[in-house]
Symmetry: C2
Subunit: 154 residues, 2 copies
């Protein structure tokens, strides 16, 4: 238990990189077929005529892949208690077949919970980037984490 990342291990300004994760056309089409079956996410010819300019994954697939990289990167080795939600997601560039993704993280804010002395809140930004470091998706969210010293002064 004690060697897992706790609230106290996150400091404002901390940065890290997670991944990589390779994404195939088959994965992009399978996700879209299940959750977001718009033609631009399913078919090259239909996608060519859209703003994507060619087959691109669902924005929700980008979010799910980002989640998996940060889960493997640090959340599964933490006292994560989940998240109340997401402040913002921006989809800047399409998720292309064959891309190798990584995630850059930054800690924006840390604060203890008033209502739950065993919990701390860590606000973070995540940039998902491709092989050439172009930013595809950004996300700002708050993680709830267990504290080593519940109720202590922050």
């Amino acid at each position: 238990m004690t060697d897992r990342l706790h609230f106290e291990d996150f400091k404002v300004g901390d940065e890290a990189v997670y991944g990589p994760r390779h994404v195939t056309r088959e994965e992009i089409v399978a996700f879209a077929a299940e959750f977001d079956p718009q033609p631009m996410h399913l078919d090259e010819a239909a996608a060519a005529a859209t703003l994507l300019g060619g087959l691109g994954g669902s924005g929700w697939h980008s979010c799910a892949l980002l989640m998996r990289m940060i889960a493997d990167g640090f959340i599964l080795n933490s006292t994560s208690m989940g998240s109340p939600g997401v402040e913002e997601v921006r989809w800047f560039r399409p998720l292309r077949p064959g891309v190798n993704l990584r995630v850059r993280s930054k800690v924006l804010e840390v604060r203890t919970s008033k209502s739950r002395p065993e919990m701390g809140l860590v606000k973070m930004s995540f940039d998902m980037i491709d092989d050439s470091d172009a930013v595809l998706t950004t996300m700002t969210t708050t993680l709830m984490l267990g504290r080593r010293a519940p109720g202590a002064a922050a």
Copy 2:
């Protein structure tokens, strides 16, 4: 083409309900195993000791299911050009196995695009609710839609 929903068909205050969508334990665990393998999303015993108080799906699974309901509900029958991102997602209650989901939508704002005369922007809120109308997830996002009369006064 012309019978699809265009930008001009969305008016501030418009409301609708989409779904239903039934969700099984198998779907919840399969999504989590692929994208968000935290124990609270995979295993009843582990989940019982968490804030979820029992097995609950990934918040990203909630988002993906909401997306599928609005895709089937109106986006696939529209001139959708995608979305630049999401203003906010809130996860209020867990996604439980066996739930029947619906989505309530509301149009918050409509405006034409300055840079793209063929496009309009529709800001909407979506509440995903369960069998007893309890709100599980809320989302505010902007949809890009084709216009019937590109460049006309809004």
